[in-house]
């Protein structure tokens, strides 16, 4: 049985027509199931826990990147539950990486049910699929063996699934890529043409990373677009943690 989790912003009447089309298509394909609508006092985590307790084997998040990120964080707690998404709304980068098209067309991808076992990143007690970013002067201890720190500022990003212009992270390789981006500026470029300053990108394949900020009681990390605040972030790869329904147009 498929369980569909509708994000709260979908209660806006402007989405009603699209949701109706999606529901019709799901019915045609024979994969329509239980619908759970999130609201002010109905959280993603609680809803998914209830659905799994009632025997849900497939959870589909309907909404944008924020919906998908929160749903992944909740579904990852359970083994044997598959996850899919129907992207509706403004931002849908995660669905794009998974090869899931927007709106009604996503229903056909779900029906084809091409499932991949993907790694997840775990930061403190939360899970993420794509990447985690910590801005500011921080350092990263990689695999308990060495410490990486930008000399004059930069930011650290830990990637599980990403498509960059210079580096790609594959969520099936059992590792994370810790990336440090630093700005290297020459005198003329920094004085007159700051836009020309080139950024250096360091890449470290790792399995465990601890990010700390010296002299700061708390810092903020953004994982899958969700902000988390803590004194330090312990990040590790969880190999093949989540069964994800992907499309043929996936980037991995």
């Amino acid at each position: 049985m498929y369980h569909y989790i509708y994000d709260s912003f979908l209660s806006d009447p402007k989405h009603a027509k699209l949701l109706s089309q999606i529901e019709n298509r799901l019915t045609d394909l024979g994969i329509y199931g239980n619908v759970h609508r999130l609201a002010l006092f109905k959280s993603m985590k609680g809803t998914i826990q209830d659905a799994v307790r009632r025997g849900a084997k497939t959870i589909i998040a309907v909404g944008d990147d924020g919906t998908v990120a929160k749903a992944i964080d909740a579904v990852a707690e359970f083994s044997g539950v598959s996850f899919g998404a129907i992207p509706v709304g403004e931002k849908h980068t995660i669905a794009q990486l998974l090869g899931i098209p927007l709106g009604v067309e996503a229903c056909d991808v779900l029906s084809a049910r091409l499932v991949e076992d993907l790694d997840l990143g775990k930061v403190n007690s939360h899970y993420f699929l794509t990447s985690l970013e910590v801005p500011g002067q921080v350092n990263a201890e990689c695999d308990g063996q060495y410490t990486v720190s930008p000399v004059a500022g930069g930011h650290i990003r830990v990637c599980n699934l990403s498509m960059g212009e210079r580096h790609t992270s594959d969520p099936r390789d059992g590792r994370l890529e810790t990336m440090v981006r630093t700005a290297t500026r020459g005198f003329f470029s920094s004085m007159f043409r700051p836009a020309l300053a080139t950024a250096g990108l360091s890449v470290f394949p790792t399995q465990k990373v601890v990010i700390r900020a010296e002299g700061k009681a708390q810092m903020t990390a953004i994982a899958d677009g969700q902000p988390y605040a803590d004194a330090e972030f312990r990040i590790e790869v969880m190999p093949k943690r989540l069964k994800v329904i992907v499309g043929k147009a996936r980037t991995i």
Binding site: Q145, Y146, A152, G154, V180, T182, G200, L201, F204, P205
Partner: protein
């Protein structure tokens, strides 16, 4: 082996402006442009660019050095010191090439192919090697 620009095949990149401290090990190719203190071990090839400053013993399959290394270098196959290399430490490999202008302060131990025999030379003081 690495091409001299090396970036495309490197799994690990330590860019300029980044400092690494500790025992750094990589199962693949490594490109170092920044600062490293501790030890470096690469199962693949190692490229040390001109901006790099390494205070560590270094082990790799092959190494191309254009920057500064204060420590011993061991390569299973080949070490290439380019004209901008500054090495303060011992070098050991099967094949060693040194370009004009490279600075080498240490012993060079070249392992002869198929034998356990080695040829050792020692530079008495830091100086630029002439081709």
């Amino acid at each position: 082996m690495f091409k001299k620009d090396g970036e495309g095949s490197a799994e690990t990149i330590i860019a300029n402006g980044v400092k690494v401290e500790g025992d750094f090990a990589s199962p693949g190719n490594v490109r170092i442009e920044g600062i490293v203190k501790g030890s470096v071990k690469a199962d693949g090839d190692l490229l040390v660019t001109e901006s790099a400053m390494i205070e560590a013993d270094v082990t790799a399959a092959n190494a191309i050095v254009s920057g500064e290394i204060r420590g011993n270098i061991t390569a299973h196959d080949k070490i290439e010191l380019t004209g901008t290399a500054r090495v303060h430490g011992d070098i050991m490999s099967k094949v060693l090439t040194v370009a004009a202008g490279a600075v080498l302060d240490g012993r060079c131990q070249v392992m002869l192919e198929g034998t356990r025999e080695t040829v050792t030379t020692r530079t008495k003081q830091p100086k630029a090697v002439e081709a």
